[in-house]
């Protein structure tokens, strides 16, 4: 019961945080609220028995990536509010309608899609049992290093390429 309440609280704060983040003129406060959203979703991950994902969501997203954003904001000295940042009514109308359309389509997709598929036997409980058996990390690590090992390695290469690319791009024209 308390868990359900917590979950719904996380959900509500995630939505709230997202709304605030989108509407902030000051980029730094947008970053702060985004970090809040990430924390809220991490909480939801936890409640959904994805403990490992919850952890790295906090560390990776909430920590590393958002800090990176902050660094860039500071580096470029963009940390102040800008009136021109928000679009006018036309942009709002276009963005709003597309957004609402997305909401509708996604909702229909989730509901209808779930309806179309046969309900699989693995319920929330099964995942929890596996976690109890293999550990919170193990339940993710086993398939990762067994079935998906090649994908994992490729991801590693991708990160390497990203590192090189980032350095090259960020280094600029200096010779």
């Amino acid at each position: 019961m308390i868990q359900d309440f917590l979950f719904q609280a996380f959900a509500a704060s995630a939505i709230l945080g997202a709304v605030i983040m989108v509407t902030r003129r000051n980029p730094v406060s947008a970053v702060i609220f985004l970090v809040g959203v990430f924390f809220a979703t991490s909480g939801m991950f936890l409640m959904l028995d994805a403990h490992y994902i919850a952890a790295i969501n906090v560390i990776l997203y909430g920590g590393a990536i958002m800090v990176l954003f902050l660094f860039v904001l500071m580096l470029l000295n963009l940390g102040h509010a800008d009136w021109r940042d928000l679009r006018g009514p036309v942009g709002g109308l276009v963005g709003g309608s597309i957004s609402i359309a997305f909401l509708g389509v996604l909702t229909r997709l989730f509901v209808g899609g779930a309806d179309a598929r046969p309900v699989v036997e693995i319920a929330g409980g099964a995942l929890r049992e596996a976690a109890a058996e293999q550990g919170v990390v193990g339940v993710v690590a086993r398939p990762l290093f067994q079935e998906y090992v090649i994908v994992l390695e490729v991801t590693g290469v991708l990160l390497l390429v990203a590192i090189v690319g980032t350095i090259l791009l960020a280094r600029g024209e200096r010779t």
Partner: protein
């Protein structure tokens, strides 16, 4: 030249013709190919000479006339051989297959029959004389070699025209002579007028040639062959008498004739053709090429005999042209123009003759006309030559512009004193053409007048008679203006200077004149009418040509042709011969009497004629009419085709399509703003679409 092929191909034709060929069995042509080869060789040698030894005049001087004389000698041999063989039918000599395609076979076959031999005699005989004359006339021309090359080539094509045993081969000669005519009219191509005249001649001839071509197609479709002998033999069986097909064929052929022989409505090129050197006018535009139309009708006499309508048209056009051209000739000042219209008029006579069915008379007049008209032209050439030299060898060397046109008779006058020989020869020719007995023209023209009345209608007869009067008048006027009275070459007061400068032409020029003068006298004796049996050669030409024209006469007789031999106004041939001779003499004498006392103004002094005389002087404004009604509208239409249809409509559509594509591309390009947001919107709409379709 493979003789095996010659006889082989020839016999092929002979067997195809069956028994008819038996008539020609007695006559085998001697060296037939040499007749053609010599002028062609001459043309080639002289043509090469025009490039290689342009300044050396010895080679063309020898080769040019020699090629013709050689050819004439061979023709003469054959002529004698043919007259020795009785009956003298047709012999066909095949040289090689020209066009063979499906059931169409056109051989390079030569047909030797009385008609073609007679024509060959005229072409090579008169041609030889004119070649010799040209040696003198063209002596100082820088294009001497080229001239002889063209002239030889012309004779070659003329012989092909005459000897060709099929319509297409005749057409080769037909267009070939047109080409040479074009080249020779525009011989002095630096003068734009002259070059234009050549072009005009070619194009007007082409109009007729198109008719000739379509006629050939009709013949081939009807007969399955284009060889003369099979066509003529099958004609009566294949074509209905007076039917549309034969009328169409013959009228189209006649269209070809009007082009080549300068009959109404395609006559306007011939006067302009006088731009060429005068011997050319004599050979091509008087004696030979322009008579090809008459020859064609004579050759296809069977077909024409089958179509009374066409015959009527031919006769009417011939008579009309004769009168029309004669009326113009009366008011011309250019000596060559007078002769040109005279030629058109005389050709009209010939068409009148073949039109009413007097084929022999037409060919007879063709022959005598070749003699006296060539003589007239060469004489005129001598006059022009003399006047030109008198002017050109003046103090400043080139006085043409100062003095005027050497062709203009107003610049002549009194030449009798300076050019006595030419004067005599010219009078012989004049009397011949006027129809004064016993000269050539009397017999031939009288025959035409007689038959136009007997075979034709009273109107044709009247026109023929009227034209005879006009002929005598304009010729006498020409003689008076040129040779009589006082000399005006150096103005009215320049008689003394004229005496120093004007001379008789050299022997190489007057000798051919003399020979032609003899022929102009005796030429008519070849066909003495039965009514006037003065010589043993009564109806000789008639008999000679009988094998050629007998089928046509037979056709006509089979369809109710039975003329009564008396003139429309009554009386027999002898009577009317006497009458027409009297008319001619009276007209000549009258004109000389009337004109001689009158002083003639020089070219510079004379005023433009007025009234009806002006209409005649300006040739009834036919050229202007054609220019306004045909040439200019055509050019306007053609320009419109180019500017409006081609560049406007079609290219407009094409370029419009291109522009439309570019516009579409530009419109599409406008979607590419280059801003991320635009693409994001598009991307999201796309994602929505995909998701929407999926769900």
């Amino acid at each position: 030249m493979s003789l095996g092929a010659v006889t082989g191909s020839g016999s092929l034709v002979a067997t195809a013709l069956g028994g008819q060929e038996g008539a020609g069995a007695g006559f085998q042509p001697v060296l037939p190919w040499l007749i053609l080869a010599l002028p062609l060789l001459g043309a080639a040698v002289n043509g090469a000479g025009a490039f290689l030894w342009r300044d050396d005049k010895r080679i063309p001087t020898i080769v040019g006339p020699a090629a013709l004389l050689g050819s004439f000698a061979v023709v003469l041999l054959n002529f004698i051989a043919m007259s020795g063989a009785e009956p003298h039918g047709a012999a066909v000599v095949g040289l090689w297959n020209w066009i063979v395609s499906g059931d169409l076979r056109i051989g390079v076959d030569l047909q030797f029959d009385p008609l073609s031999m007679l024509m060959c005699m005229i072409v090579t005989g008169v041609g030889s004389l004119i070649h010799v004359y040209s040696v003198g006339y063209m002596r100082d021309d820088p294009g001497y070699s080229r001239y002889f090359s063209y002239l030889n080539l012309f004779v070659f094509f003329m012989l092909v025209l005459v000897l060709g045993a099929s319509f297409p081969l005749m057409f080769v000669g037909w267009e070939g002579v047109g080409l040479c005519s074009y080249l020779l009219i525009g011989f002095w191509y630096e003068n734009r007028e002259y070059a234009n005249a050549g072009k005009k001649a070619f194009i007007m001839n082409r109009i007729g040639d198109a008719g000739f071509l379509v006629a050939m197609f009709l013949i081939f479709t009807a007969f399955g062959t284009l060889d003369f002998i099979p066509v003529f033999e099958a004609a009566e069986g294949t074509l209905a008498y007076g039917g549309a097909l034969v009328t169409g064929i013959t009228l189209l052929l006649f269209l070809g004739c009007t082009g080549k022989s300068a009959q109404i409505p395609l006559h306007t090129w011939l006067p302009d053709a006088m731009a060429g050197p005068t011997p050319v006018s004599a050979l091509i535009h008087a004696a030979t090429m322009v008579t090809a139309g008459v020859y064609l009708i004579a050759r296809t006499s069977v077909l024409f005999a089958l179509s009374p309508v066409s015959q009527g048209v031919v006769a009417a056009v011939g008579a009309g042209t004769a009168l029309f051209a004669a009326s113009i000739a009366i008011r011309q000042y250019d000596i060559k123009k007078v002769l040109a219209y005279s030629t058109i008029s005389q050709l009209g006579y010939m068409f009148l003759a073949v039109g009413v069915g007097a084929f022999t008379a037409g060919v007879f007049h063709l022959m005598t006309h070749a003699f006296f008209k060539a003589l007239l032209f060469l004489g005129a050439g001598a006059v022009i030559h003399a006047v030109h030299h008198a002017w050109a060898h003046g103090e400043d060397g080139h006085g043409d512009a100062r003095h005027g046109d050497p062709n203009d008779m107003r610049n002549h006058g009194g030449l009798r004193k300076y050019m006595p020989r030419t004067f005599v020869f010219m009078w012989v020719a004049t009397l011949a053409i006027a129809g004064v007995p016993p000269l050539a023209g009397f017999f031939s023209k009288d025959e035409i007048i007689w038959y136009s009345g007997v075979y034709g209608t009273p109107i044709l007869w009247g026109v023929a008679l009227a034209t005879a009067v006009l002929t005598a008048v304009y010729m006498a006027r020409l003689m008076v203006m040129t040779f009589h009275g006082r000399n005006r070459t150096f103005g009215h007061g320049g008689v003394a200077e004229a005496g120093r400068r004007l001379h008789e032409v050299p022997a190489v020029m007057w000798a051919p004149l003399a020979l032609l003068a003899v022929l102009s006298v005796v030429g008519g004796w070849a066909n003495i009418p039965e009514a006037l049996p003065l010589l043993p050669t009564v109806e000789w030409l008639h008999h000679w040509l009988e094998p050629v024209f007998a089928p046509a006469i037979a056709v006509k007789e089979a369809h109710g042709f039975a003329p009564e031999y008396r003139a429309p106004a009554g009386g027999g041939e002898a009577l009317w011969a006497g009458v027409s001779a009297a008319i001619a003499i009276a007209a000549v004498v009258g004109t000389v009497r009337a004109l001689s006392p009158k002083p003639v103004p020089t070219e510079a002094e004379s005023e433009a004629p007025t009234g009806f005389a002006r209409v005649l002087h300006d040739k009834w404004y036919v050229d202007e009419l054609y220019d306004r009604a045909i040439v200019r509208p055509s050019l306007a239409l053609w320009r419109a085709c180019w500017r409006i249809v081609d560049a406007g409509l079609i290219d407009g559509a094409v370029n419009g399509a291109g522009r439309a594509a570019r516009l579409l591309g530009w419109a599409g390009g406008q979607l590419q703003t280059g801003r991320v947001t635009t693409y994001l919107v598009a991307f999201m709409l796309g994602a929505l679409l995909v998701l929407g379709v999926l769900s």
